[in-house]
Amino acid sequence: MINRDLVIVGGGPAGLSAAKIAIDAGMKVTIVERFNQLGGQLIKQTHKFFGSQLQYAKTRGFDIANILIDDLAGYDNLEILLDATCVAMYPDKVLTIYQNNKYMKYKAKSVIIATGASEKFLAFENNDLPGIYGAGAVQTLMNIYGIKPGKEVVMIGSGNIGLIVSYQLIQAGVKVKALVEAASKVGGYLVHAAKLKRLGVDILLNTTVKKAIGKEKLEKVVTVKLDDNWQEIANTEKEIKTDALCISVGLSPLHQLMSMAGAKMLDVSELGGYVPKKSCDYETTIPNVYACGDVTGIEEASSAMVEGKITGLMAVKHLGFKLDNMEKLEADLNDQLCILRQGPCGEKIRCGLKKVGEIYD
């Protein structure tokens, strides 16, 4: 059994931000990351971030990942496990980690769950044809491995991921034949949608995908119009020729570790699915187990980084470690989160967080 003050599961923006605070306070920390490099989704994000300078606005996602990773260099109280999956968490904070066919047990005084989220899937005819991808897979192929998913693509979903990945596809020389959205308006920021419009992308609102057609692989997509009650309207089917279909219809939190350890979980649609009930200290119902980032509700990397710092700080505080100006730092971070969640774009997340007990007014 390997003993640690803190084990952080997930090396994305939330986990890395939490680690920095904890190692600065002198905690003995392990980060467990499933992929072969740190950074989470940031490493696939080629666009510049919006928002505040505090969360690296105007910097590209993969550059933010490098900043966060560089911040962790030179600490001998930090262990980073790559290609390592935390396969289980038990109520006594024993974690089993599987890395290169090695099965290891860690006993943690505190745990931060920063596992992120996975993509939601869509049910339509022939949805298992080769050529049908999730938006995350498309980003991984293009931006990590330099591989185009197809010559042409139809994008399903107009949230920020759907909009940004469409733009990246165009940048990579792929023709975006249509962007399909079931709702009556675009889900993501208008500035991204406007960019696609200017590039001549057909944005089809009140529309969904009815079926995929193809023998060995995807050849055509059939779309259909929806009425106000999300029902298909007869005789509005349209065929679009394409060799790739990209699904971007939202994410759901990777809640499994907390669920299996017996933390109280809540199903909150605004947050993407099962999320942990948390105290105002970001602690789950299992003492000294904290959660931050997308696993506590689907948001953006900017808020994941701030949440990561807060949970790092809570782990430091609860185990009796110290940092300079801890109270001021905590107040500042909470203010930053409130600012990030202001305005109409933050409405959904505010509504969801109210259901788990965090109050934003």
Binding site: T85, Y90, Y103, K120, S259, D267
Partner: protein, 91 residues
Amino acid sequence: MSKKDIIICRCEDVSLADIHKALDMGYRDFESIKRILRVGMGPCQGQTCSNLIKNEIARYNKVHPETVKTHKIRPLVSGVVLKDIAESKDE
């Protein structure tokens, strides 16, 4: 619409037709459907299909999806070779 061509659980190759048939046979909750169709028991452990199945159960029982429970999560979250567990020296 060909329900047998709509794949709900990719890991265990379960279609919408299979889910509807199970519901019609009286299996009305996730755990029961899991036991006869193996949904949620493959490599992704239900991370892909659970939302879709939850919605189908809600529609069939005419309740809100947030009130439908999905399957119980148990260790481990992904496949581990038994030999590797046996050979781990940890106590």
